[in-house]
């Protein structure tokens, strides 16, 4: 068990510093927005009501959806500014996370502040005018100081929320302590999940206590304590800012990965090859499927591995089903023409969707093909990953084989296999390169109508990356050099329940086993 802990500690400076920077920026921006709003709205019921209503409404949007929605919004905006002013910005990662968290941070500060100001003793407010204060002096000398303790309580609540919610920035490509949680969840690495939770909780507690120190110093008029708290907070943020600077990771290649085991292993493999050639590398793992492609097309990733069927149907939105070789060559030209993305070449194996069942049940029902399944489907439940049921491949399977299941259930891939073994579902949409198919003795149902398209794993390079000979040189040896048996075993090394390996270790094994130069 010391190994996952060791590997978690190794990336802690990176994850923690990025988490701190994101949270601090969001909180600072939240305070900078909500205090002027509070000042403007405090004496005007007409303004106060809509401002608080909007802030409450934002709070009710599920945080992960809020984070996700900023990506397409920023992408559109970036394209617009690109067209108008020739300036484009990163729509993935820091910016959408920052905006979503900032919006999230506003409500507690605003509501506490408004409550505090509305509850001030009217005699004191009148006294402020009576002794000759202007409205501005009354605000600075009376209203804000008296509201400060409750306002600070709002800032503390907000800080804890922001730090907790920042863990959800991982799927939009922002490294955070959430990387432990999302990666751990995918790889069934519970030490990482716990480590991520623990780190986020510890960070929230420390921040809360430092803010409490500031609050105490303000309330008891002990400015030294308040300054001490503020200095410690600033020092923490400065230290976090120093980590990426010290690592000198500006520039270099960005290697992307979607959110399942194989992708983590391939990202580790690609990164290690680039590092071996002396190039600085950043990894952005755990990305949503189409998000990864758009990020690549926008040059926010340099390289990642995708699958022909996914690209054909989900990213290029074709309805046709050409043969394997045609699809590959068509993708090559169309991706280049439409996005400037270069398909460097196939890795040599397929990771197709397959429908799989437990062997005893398949045998008992006499099911060998998806055609056989159709008869029993009304009595069975199908489990899929979070994207499967929205994909064209599922609609085609449903239509061509006339599949009508009793129920459909969505799972994180890691949990889908557990669901099948525990009997919560009877059939799963598994992945053909998955090591757990062999480990769990599952039956893969045949697809006699060839509805499931080919899913050749292919290396994609971003428009900028395509022109980089170093990138091509480092990755070309991978082309057609990874057979399905090796990929399956590498996946299995990470996914199995005993003697688990990290994606990095599996990547090292894969490089060795595939005799990669």
């Amino acid at each position: 068990m010391s190994d996952p802990l060791h590997s978690a500690l190794a990336v802690l400076p990176d994850y923690l510093s990025q988490h701190v920077l994101l949270s601090a920026a969001a909180l600072a921006l939240g305070v900078a927005l909500s205090v002027p709003l509070l000042i403007a709205a405090r004496h005007s019921a007409r303004l106060r009501w809509p401002v608080l209503a909007v802030a409450s409404l934002i709070q009710t949007v599920p945080s992960i959806a809020l984070l996700a929605l900023f990506y397409p919004l920023l992408l559109g905006l970036s394209r617009l500014t690109g067209r108008l002013f020739g300036v484009r910005f990163q729509a993935l990662g820091f910016l959408p996370s920052l905006l979503a968290l900032t919006l999230y941070s506003i409500l507690p500060i605003l509501r506490n502040g408004v409550t505090a100001v509305l509850n001030l003793d009217p005699a004191i407010l009148q006294a402020a005018h009576g002794v000759g204060m202007t409205s501005r002096q009354r605000l600075l000398h009376v209203e804000l100081p008296l509201a400060a303790p409750m306002l600070m309580a709002g800032v503390r609540t907000s800080a804890v929320w922001v730090i907790g919610t920042a863990t959800l920035a991982t799927p939009v490509g922002q490294t955070s302590l959430g990387n432990y949680i999302f990666t751990g969840l995918q790889l069934a690495n519970w030490v990482w999940v716990l480590f991520g939770c623990g780190a986020a909780v510890a960070l929230a507690l420390v921040t809360d206590q430092l803010l409490a120190l500031i609050e105490f110093g303000l309330a008891r008029r002990r400015p030294r304590l308040a300054w001490l708290g503020l200095c410690l907070l600033v020092a923490g943020v400065a230290a976090a800012a120093a980590v990426p600077l010290a690592a000198g990771r500006r520039g270099g290649f960005v290697v992307g990965a979607k959110n399942f085991t194989e992708q983590y292993i391939l990202a580790a493999l690609i990164s290690s090859r680039l590092r071996a050639e002396g190039h600085p590398v950043t990894e952005r793992t755990g990305l949503g499927s189409t998000l990864a492609f758009q990020a690549l097309a926008g040059n926010e990733l340099s390289v990642y591995v995708d699958y022909t069927g996914t690209l054909w149907h989900d990213d290029l939105h074709h309805r046709s089903d050409p043969p394997r070789a045609t699809m590959l060559s068509e993708l090559r030209t169309q991706l280049r023409r439409r996005y400037g993305v270069v398909l460097l070449g196939p890795l040599g194996y397929q990771n197709a969707y397959v429908l799989a069942m437990r062997r005893p049940q398949a045998a008992a029902l006499g099911i060998r093909t998806i055609g056989d399944l159709a008869r029993f489907a009304p009595r069975l439940t199908l489990g899929g990953d979070l994207e499967f049921f929205a994909r064209p491949v599922w609609h085609d399977l449903e239509r061509r084989y006339a599949l009508h299941f009793r129920a459909l259930r969505q799972y994180e891939p890691a949990f889908m296999y557990h669901a099948l073994l525990s009997g919560a579902v009877n059939v799963i949409a598994a992945f053909s390169s998955d090591g757990r198919i062999a480990e769990d003795h599952l039956v893969v149902l045949k697809d006699p109508l060839h509805v499931i398209p080919p899913y050749d794993a292919v290396i994609l390079l971003s428009p900028h990356g395509a022109h980089d000979p170093a990138l091509r040189r480092a990755l070309e040896p991978l082309i057609d050099h990874i057979p399905i048996s090796l990929m399956r075993h590498a996946n299995f090394m990470v996914d199995r329940r005993h003697d688990k390996r990290t994606p990095r270790q599996a990547a090292r094994w894969l490089a060795h086993a595939a005799h990669l130069r």
Partner: protein
């Protein structure tokens, strides 16, 4: 001199008037008590003088200058104001509370400190209280601080809105006497709103009686005590006289026994 001419104030768009067509002249160095029932408009009248309330009609002048022509915060720094609820700033020390108006007016720190010490002596509180917070003081002590705060920037005029309303009778009497003493000592023009007619009789040079927004009587205490054509005013003034007579007869009985 404070002069009010045809001052009107309504809070409901003219359906009723809190102050209606009031004319009043208060010569410098006079101590005027404004008395009347609650709702008679006395506090509203007081607040038109330092523009805490702006009248709908009429004009308030101080030494011939209309108060409307002075920015409100500057006007208020020249006029001391003592509140019924005291209104000390709970987050400021006693010294900071007393020194607030000089500080707003931009006095140098040394001058503020000297003035604050002078005032805490004048209102008979120990200097050790200067570093305390308002919550650590009793009600009477707080009102002494309130008075010191009103006097801090050397105003020529002090307005007092039921300053002793929340105090016990002994504290009330003591503070009333000190206000009068300070009034003499600093040659102030004082306008005090009170519903306590005895207090008005004992402290003021002149009593103004208000009812339903209008002035119904205006005179020196002994004139009003001698009787007034308005039956309500004469009933009002009868009260201190009856109380005094009762006290006197009690004292005489006691002397006779001895």
């Amino acid at each position: 001199m404070i002069a009010l001419q045809g001052v009107c104030k309504t809070f409901d768009g003219g359906a009723s008037y809190a102050v209606r067509d009031v004319n009043l002249e208060i010569p410098a160095h006079t101590f005027v008590a404004v008395v009347g029932d609650s709702g008679s408009g006395k506090t509203t009248l007081l607040k038109t003088i330092n523009r805490l309330i702006e009248p709908e009609a009429g004009e308030v002048c101080i030494d011939g200058e209309p108060v409307r022509s002075v920015p409100p915060h500057e006007l208020r720094r020249r006029i001391g104001y003592v509140f019924q609820g005291v209104g000390l700033f709970p987050h400021l020390s006693i010294a900071e509370n007393i020194g607030i108006t000089p500080q707003l007016a931009g006095w140098p720190d040394d001058a503020i400190r000297a003035r604050v010490e002078e005032l805490i002596d004048l209102v008979c509180l120990p200097r050790a209280y200067l570093t305390r917070m308002p919550a650590e003081l009793s009600g009477g002590q707080r009102q002494r601080v309130g008075i010191a705060r009103a006097l801090a920037a050397r105003p020529a005029i002090v307005l007092m809105d039921e300053p002793f309303g929340a105090l016990d009778p002994v504290t009330r009497d003591g503070l009333g006497g000190e206000c009068r003493r300070l009034h003499e000592h600093m040659q102030l023009t004082t306008v005090m709103v009170t519903h306590d007619i005895l207090e008005a009789v004992l402290l003021a040079d002149r009593i103004v009686v208000m009812r339903r927004g209008r002035i119904v009587a205006d005179g020196e205490p002994h004139e009003l005590l001698a009787g007034h054509p308005d039956p309500a005013v004469s009933t009002l003034m009868d009260m201190p006289r009856r109380q005094a007579a009762r006290v006197r007869s009690l004292l005489e009985e006691r002397t006779a026994h001895e």
